[in-house]
């Protein structure tokens, strides 16, 4: 019992920490929507209005508390700009990203483990060296470069021009 | 205690307890009500099975772990009650060596660095003198000066233990607490280290608290032997008497187990059953469950320590914790 209590206290502290950091980084120091929501030629008063409407004039504790309440009630509020509830946006987009991510993740891991096993099994043979070499090479390539290369390969006349 | 000579170290009613960490907190009493005395230039051996609390007692004396109650008096002053400066001074006089000579030397420091560290710390001598003192200590333990720039892994096991001993010597201590110093060494090397210890006692008047599970080694060097079982000193006696005329049933079974004819290969202690856990000590005498001579009282009342000097021809300073001697 005491053990369970202690474990859940740990979990709670961890969650508090994570939410605190995410709040500080992404909300408190995060993007200030004010200046994308004011129009041309705004007055100081209008800026104040927008800041007030967004709750930016509230003290740290209040905003953090609101943030926690929103998180725990799963009421993520409405998107500042479109007014669509964030819940619905997430419900709409998360399955898509999950559907895209999971197969890649699973396949990638399986393939990786298989290659690793193969390399370990044939230690010292050429296939081990090839796989090791490939993976060290792979580690050394920035994702960015891969993205750019794909862009060139797939969609410009300089590449394979698969999609004219 | 009673023979009038001033004791170098006196331990009185020492208790060492740990809070065990883990999911369930509980208290483990590693040392229970231990009293002992070490005379200047005396070799006091502490024997017992592993887990009996020997190491805890040694470390509590060295002030490496706190004691729950009781006294550790060194040269007439209580170690736990000392302030930082006093303790620092006292530590010059009490040094320690440990079981694993590889592990007891800092692996990334040369022998010289290891040897001069206590000198630096206690601010003994100048830089030049420190090297001389270190060289002298190496010579004392029979190591060549060329070892100074070596790293521990470049030395053999015996050389390492000698180096560890040399390190303990540089501050000219009055007492060296040696925790199983020879048990990981080959028998031939063991013998040489034992010889070295005896030599140091004789020539430099250093007292030793010699912790060991190996009775055959203890027999070779100890003046006084104390037998520990589950945190208690069950029997303390001059060495000769203890080996020739043991009083406690546990000591007797220990001695029976040692094949004296073949000290090179000491056999493990043979007793019925496992020693009980120090976490849940039995009521009464802690040894009663394995004791061949137990009487009814043993399972309910814990025996106190009695001095049996004179009883059945026992000599002075023979103390035992056993109901059999209590009547």
């Amino acid at each position: 019992m005491a053990y369970l209590l202690r474990k859940s206290l740990h979990g709670l502290l961890l969650i508090l920490g994570v939410t605190l950091i995410s709040f500080v980084l992404m909300v408190w120091f995060g993007p200030d929507q004010t200046y994308s929501l004011i129009g041309k030629n705004a007055t100081a008063e209008q800026i104040e209005d927008v800041r007030h409407a967004l709750g930016y004039d509230q003290p740290f504790i209040t905003r953090y508390a609101d943030y926690l309440i929103e998180l725990f009630t799963l009421n993520l509020g409405a998107s500042n700009s479109s007014g669509e509830p964030v819940n619905r946006i997430l419900a709409r987009t998360i399955p898509v990203s999950l559907a895209l991510m999971i197969p890649g993740f699973v396949l990638g891991n399986l393939l990786g483990i298989a290659l690793g096993l193969l390399a370990a099994h044939r230690r010292g043979q050429w296939s081990d060296r090839v796989i090791s070499g490939l993976s060290v090479g792979g580690m050394s390539i920035s994702f960015l470069i891969i993205i750019i290369v794909f862009q060139v390969l797939l969609s410009t006349p300089y590449g394979l021009n698969l999609f004219p | 205690m009673s023979n009038g000579t001033p004791e170098l170290l006196s331990v009185r009613n020492l208790v060492v307890a740990y809070e065990t960490s883990g999911h369930v907190k509980s208290r483990l009493t590693a040392v229970q009500d231990v009293s002992l005395d070490i005379a200047p230039a005396g070799i006091f051996a502490l024997v017992g099975e592993s887990g009996s609390g020997k190491t805890s007692l040694a470390r509590a004396i060295l002030q490496l772990i706190p004691s729950a109650s009781g006294q550790v008096i060194f040269c007439g002053k209580s170690l736990p009650e000392m302030n930082k400066t006093q303790l620092r001074e006292a530590r010059r006089d009490i040094q320690a060596i440990f079981q694993d000579p590889l592990s007891s030397l800092s692996p990334r420091r040369t022998i010289l660095q290891t040897l001069t560290e206590p000198l630096d710390h206690f601010r003994i001598g100048t830089g030049k003198e420190r090297i001389d003192i270190a060289a002298g200590a190496l010579e004392t333990v029979g190591l060549d000066n060329s070892m100074m720039q070596r790293f521990p892994h470049e030395l053999s096991g015996g050389q390492r233990q000698r180096a560890a001993l040399a390190r303990a010597l540089v501050s000219k201590p009055k007492l060296i607490v040696a925790d199983e110093p020879v048990s990981s060494l080959d028998a031939s090397i063991q013998a040489r280290v034992v010889e070295l210890i005896l030599n140091l006692r004789d020539k430099q008047g250093i007292a030793f608290l010699f912790v060991s599970h190996d009775l055959s080694v203890v027999r070779q060097l100890a003046d006084t032997v104390a037998v520990m079982y589950l945190g208690r000193l069950v029997e303390t006696a001059p060495a000769r008497e203890l080996f020739s005329n043991p009083a406690h049933p546990y000591t007797r079974s220990l001695l029976r187990a040692v094949p004296i004819a073949d000290p090179l290969h000491p056999a493990p202690v043979v007793l019925d059953g496992e020693p009980p856990s120090a976490l849940t000590p039995p009521t009464g005498c802690v040894f009663h469950m394995r004791c061949p001579d137990r009487i009814e009282r043993c399972s309910s009342v814990e025996p106190g320590q009695v001095n049996i000097s004179g009883k059945e021809g026992r000599q002075e300073n023979h103390r035992v914790r056993c109901h059999l001697w209590n009547s």
Binding site: S22, L25, V136, T156 | V177
Partner: protein, 281 residues
């Protein structure tokens, strides 16, 4: 034979490791050269025309602004080393220190607090965290460094903590305590030096990670703010490759790849050389 020379002996027999070391050495020489002002100083001058091809004047051609791509890619070596070294050294030191504290005072509140901070940081996805920190500190030249250091130390601290807990019970620590050395002296003199093998490998991993992260952050506009780096060059090149100008892209990505490759080879070899299972050999 000291521990260092033993490692060196092993490294010397490792052809891959030596190649890595050589590559890193060449890059280091370049970085120092840039530092001392020997080359790459004209990285910002826009003397050429737009997208000039390779020529004796502009070895790798010019970019949109007419800047010399060769000089820019060379100057970026210095940028990469600055970031890599600062992040590797600081994050590894921080990880060592906090890991040592946590290990030394294990199961106390010190350990608990450090583990908590580490747990919190590890629960936040890396790129999200780094980008958010860099964003929160935007405009500050060290925003990116702080962001990376704040995350990179955790792995080091975990490894060091475990190692320190092992070392803590070793007898040379007891002998040090027996003569009454203060804790911090024991930590610095006897504990940390014995985690050196972890620190070296972790530092080389942090170095590589820092350079890779810099590229992504700079690409996102959250990285290098004043100066030039391979990340900025790659960011420039995304527009250029579509118009058929590959010099900027090739220069930056080949240099980046070579350095990372060299470092990975070296880190791998170091890891092997330090592998405790091999010390028996």
């Amino acid at each position: 034979m000291s521990a260092g020379s033993r490692i060196w002996e092993r490294l010397r027999k490792d052809r891959t490791g030596l190649t890595g070391l050589a590559i890193v050495g060449i890059f280091l020489a370049l970085a120092i050269g840039v530092w001392l002002g020997f080359f790459g100083q004209g990285w910002s001058a826009a003397d050429g025309g737009r997208w000039e091809p390779m020529s004796p004047e502009f070895w790798f051609g010019t970019n949109l602004l007419g800047q010399d791509i060769f000089q820019r890619s060379i100057f970026s070596v210095r940028t990469a080393f600055e970031i890599g070294l600062i992040v590797a050294v600081v994050s590894t030191s921080l990880g060592a220190l906090l890991g040592a504290l946590a290990g030394w005072y294990s199961h106390t509140w010190v350990d608990g607090t450090i583990l908590w901070v580490k747990g919190v940081l590890d629960s936040i996805p890396f790129y999200l965290f780094v980008a958010a920190v860099a964003y929160a500190l935007q405009g500050k030249p060290w925003a990116m460094h702080v962001a990376m250091i704040a995350t990179f130390w955790t792995t080091t601290s975990r490894l060091v903590r475990g190692e320190v807990m092992k070392i803590k019970s070793r007898e040379f620590i007891l002998s040090a305590r027996a003569i009454g050395l203060p804790d911090f002296v024991i930590l610095l003199r006897h504990v940390l030096p014995n985690t050196l093998h972890i620190l070296l490998v972790q530092a080389s991993i942090a170095f590589v990670a820092a350079i890779k992260t810099e590229v992504i952050l700079s690409f996102l506009g959250l990285g290098v703010q004043d100066g030039v780096s391979w990340g900025l060059m790659l960011a420039e090149s995304t527009q250029e490759v579509l118009a058929g100008h590959f010099n900027n892209f090739l220069a930056a990505s080949v240099m980046l790849f070579m350095l990372l490759m060299g470092f990975n080879m070296l880190a791998d070899a170091l890891q092997d050389a330090f592998d405790p299972r091999r010390s028996a050999e």
